[in-house]
């Protein structure tokens, strides 16, 4: 029998070697195309060559024309803030709706629980599509209002069930000892369950945030006013212009090649998420659950 303190066994060495090798391999596989896209966004108009050669272009040859063009775009700042609005209100509504729902469904002794679960599963699977949803939004009078963008998708059954699963994992002893101490259900939820569920609430919040941030379909469908348009609309117009009747004599982007514009626009759109994720990561601390049961 080996002591855990003295050195690691041979099989364990192999294990960790494998883990590290695979991670390095994944690093390369993920990084290379990402790097290719980054260099693409900084590519000057004068560059000739394949994307592969482009990856080795020296940084001093890079051109920030694409980024300048995008950020100087009139609508860009406004679209950016519209997106932030939609995301913030969207996540707030989503969590406000999802958390109580998930918690209620996690209570095993609740009468009618299975019935309720089925109720939320049905719409998830019978995605009736665009027209029935559009008809509903119109009847609610929400056309051309920001709420039309985030309310219809504010509760995702997927996220709800994931959260429910986590709530179910919280030991009953915790809940019982709180009830014995005279706590009401609301207090229980807010003072005890939620702090323990930080990882899952943060994750789900992040999922919602990303889907709201990237959503172009609902804004395109429901919004008409130009001053409400969020970022994905702007980007999709740039990325996917068909332009059959185009008057292409003048580009709004001047110096930068169109592929650089596309790549740059994608990175600009991703920035808030990229910044937010490391913060969220901190909430994934090991052993949060453990601490509360013991203590």
């Amino acid at each position: 029998m080996k002591s855990p303190v003295v050195g690691i066994s041979a099989t364990d060495k192999v294990f960790y070697l494998l883990v590290n090798t695979v991670l390095v391999f994944l690093f390369i596989v993920i990084a290379i195309p990402l790097w290719s896209t980054i260099t693409l966004s900084f590519r000057p108009n004068s560059f000739i060559g394949t994307n592969f050669e482009g990856m080795f272009l020296a940084p001093w040859d890079w051109s920030n024309a694409a980024y300048k063009a995008l950020m100087g775009n009139n609508g860009f700042i406004m679209a950016f803030f519209n997106s932030i609005k939609i995301m913030v209100y969207g996540v707030a509504s989503a969590l406000f709706l999802t958390v109580p729902l998930a918690y209620a469904l996690s209570i095993r002794t609740l009468p009618g629980r299975v019935f309720l679960i089925v109720i939320i599963l049905i719409p998830h699977m019978f995605d009736v599509g665009m027209i029935p949803s559009f008809l509903m939004v119109k009847d609610l009078g929400l056309i051309d209002k920001l709420a039309a963008v985030y309310l219809p998708t504010a509760v995702s059954t997927y996220n709800c069930l994931i959260m429910k699963g986590f709530f179910e994992g919280i030991p009953d002893e915790l809940k019982e000892s709180a009830r014995i101490d005279g706590a009401s259900e609301f207090t229980l939820l807010i003072r005890i369950i939620l702090p323990l569920s930080k990882p899952i609430v943060m994750s789900v919040g992040l999922f919602y945030a990303v889907s709201f941030w990237n959503d172009f379909f609902h804004p395109m469908l429901y919004l008409n006013s130009n001053n409400l348009m969020p970022l994905p609309i702007l980007l999709r117009n740039i990325l996917m212009a068909s332009g059959m009747n185009e008057f292409v004599e003048v580009s709004a982007f001047g110096e930068a090649p169109i592929q650089a514009i596309k790549a740059a626009s994608v990175f600009l759109a991703a920035i808030p998420m990229v910044i937010a994720y490391p913060f969220i990561q901190r909430y994934f601390a090991k052993g949060t659950l453990l601490g509360s049961v013991k203590g």
Binding site: F76, S184, R191, L221, N226, N237, S242, G243, V248, E249
Partner: protein, 521 residues
């Protein structure tokens, strides 16, 4: 106190969170006074922003015409446009005036969602002579009633076959005339290092699949080769030989020629995977020496500049399309391109009149210049009556500059391919790097003088079903890639299957429409 109450309060707050955030769009006025008109337009420059709220046009329209104009820019992707308009139609929520593509427009007419506009032509004394001729009115007439206002779209025959003159010179070749000449030149461009850089990185022909409702199959970029066999475009619109070109014998010969190009490796192998922007980037990087391209996409300042910088000695010339075995040649098919603006059936008579006033004003001298270029002295100056971007105090606000472009987003509603526009949009200029004199207008005139096949109104013929369309496109591509062996037996079998799937019926349906509307010449 209790957490219960706290929670109730939180829930109330949550609900209230939603309400003020149902933020309204632009302010709406109601009641008597100015009429509210909602206009969904196709942006002229997809990536620039919409006209700002302080645009002087809004004020003029309100004061002079009594209209509160509310603008919505349609998505720049055609599929997205269709979806947005279709969804609005399904909910009976169409805007007052909107731009719409013909297929969707036709369906809306059949569903009774559009207002007849025959009475409006007379109410637009300035605009109608400029924009709505008999062809235009015919384009939107179904069963004797006109349901849309068809404005001229992009100018016809604005594409051409372009060849790298410097490559021809370097290899000592003459401008090709026949199909065989073209094949020789393409081979030379591919294998004889025409750019002299010692690398085997050039090709003869470059293209991408660009399909629309009257240029099916392999699309318009390959039409010069189909034209050599007299089968360019989807339809043959002659009285003598009307029908789907794909069902004609010569189509097989054209396919065989293109297959030879693919097999011999003289066409850029990426052509099937390219999207438009990739294709354009490729010719600017000197990948191939022959292509079919649009005049402005080729010769306008910002489009030609990258090529010029990379290849200061490079030179493209417009050439005649290849001549086939029977002496036929054609760059492709052309029709009058229209941009249809429809009016919702829900619009009141007052609104329809307002729309007529609005459109007529747009085509007046004041509206034309305002929407087309902006404010004189701020966005443009006049030189011999032609608006130019030079001479304005702040270059960023010139109509070609980043801040000025949003002001001209509505220009598609007033342009009619008149002299002033063309000269202004396609000025003669000196290139930055090589000092050449370039003019998209000269290129346009040159391209228009080449052999073309008339297929007027072929875009008004009934479209195929989704499955038939896929069968057509998938089939021809599979023959070209070699997935299906291209020989006469296989081809005939495929055409027979095409007919069975509905191809023959499609042709017959189109024939009756064409005859009924007198479209065959």
């Amino acid at each position: 106190m209790g957490t219960k109450r706290m929670l109730l309060v939180a829930m109330m707050v949550g609900l209230l969170l939603c309400t003020p955030l149902m933020a309204q769009g632009q302010r709406e006025t109601g009641g008597t006074g100015p009429v509210d008109i909602e206009l969904w337009y196709g942006a002229a420059i997809t990536e620039a922003g919409p006209p700002p709220e302080d645009w002087v046009g809004f004020q003029i329209i309100k004061d002079k015409l009594g209209i509160n104009l509310k603008l919505t820019a349609l998505p720049s992707n055609e599929a997205d446009q269709d979806v947005k308009i279709s969804a609005a139609a399904a909910a009976d929520n169409l805007p007052d005036l909107f731009m719409v593509r013909r297929e969707v427009w036709l369906r809306l007419v059949n569903q009774g969602m559009l207002a007849p506009v025959d009475d409006l032509y007379a109410k637009m004394p300035v605009r109608t002579p400029l924009q709505y001729d008999t062809d235009s009115i015919g384009f939107t007439t179904i069963d004797g009633v006109s349901y849309g206002l068809a404005s001229p779209g992009s100018i016809a025959r604005n594409e051409g076959v372009l060849i790298r003159k410097d490559w021809l010179d370097k290899l000592g070749l003459k401008i090709p005339v026949t199909l065989d000449d073209y094949m020789q030149v393409m081979k030379a461009f591919t294998f004889n290092d025409p750019d002299g850089n010692g690398k085997n990185d050039t090709y003869g022909y470059g293209a991408f699949i660009e399909i629309n409702n009257f240029e099916e199959g392999l699309g318009r970029r390959m039409d010069p080769f189909f034209g050599a066999f007299g089968v360019a475009g989807t339809w043959n619109m002659t009285k003598a030989d009307f029908g789907l070109n794909v069902r004609k014998d010569r189509y097989y010969d054209a396919m065989a020629f293109i297959k030879r190009m693919v097999d011999d490796g003289v066409i850029d192998p990426n052509w099937l995977a390219y999207k438009k922007d990739d294709f354009r980037a490729a010719w600017k990087q000197g990948r191939f020496g022959i292509m079919r391209e649009q005049n402005a996409a080729f010769a306008a300042t910002s489009n030609y500049a990258p090529f010029d910088k990379n290849f200061p000695d490079g030179e493209w010339i417009v050439a005649d399309p290849p001549k086939g075995p029977e002496g036929k040649q054609s760059v492709g098919v052309y029709t009058s391109q229209y941009r249809v603006y429809a009016i919702s059936d829900r619009a009141t008579a007052e609104k329809k009149d307002a729309i007529a006033r609005l459109l007529d004003w747009m085509s007046s001298k004041e509206g034309y210049y305002l929407l087309g270029w902006g404010v004189e002295g701020v966005n443009y100056t006049l030189k011999e009556g032609i608006p130019i971007a030079a001479g304005v105090p702040d270059a960023e606000y010139a109509f070609t500059g980043p801040k000025g472009q949003p002001y001209t987003q509505l220009r598609n509603m007033v342009f009619y391919n008149g002299e002033v526009e063309l000269t202004s949009r396609y000025p003669t200029y000196i290139t930055a790097t090589s000092g050449k004199e370039m003019s998209a207008l000269r290129v346009l005139v040159d391209m228009q003088s080449r052999p073309w096949t008339a297929a007027i109104a072929s875009d008004t013929l009934p479209p195929p079903s989704t499955d038939l369309k896929r069968f057509y496109e998938q089939g021809v591509t599979e023959f070209i890639t070699g997935r299906r062996a291209l020989n006469k037996a296989n081809w005939d079998a495929w055409v027979a299957e095409f007919d069975k799937l509905g191809g023959k019926a499609w042709e017959e349906e189109a024939r009756s429409v064409a005859v009924a509307n007198g479209l065959l010449r």
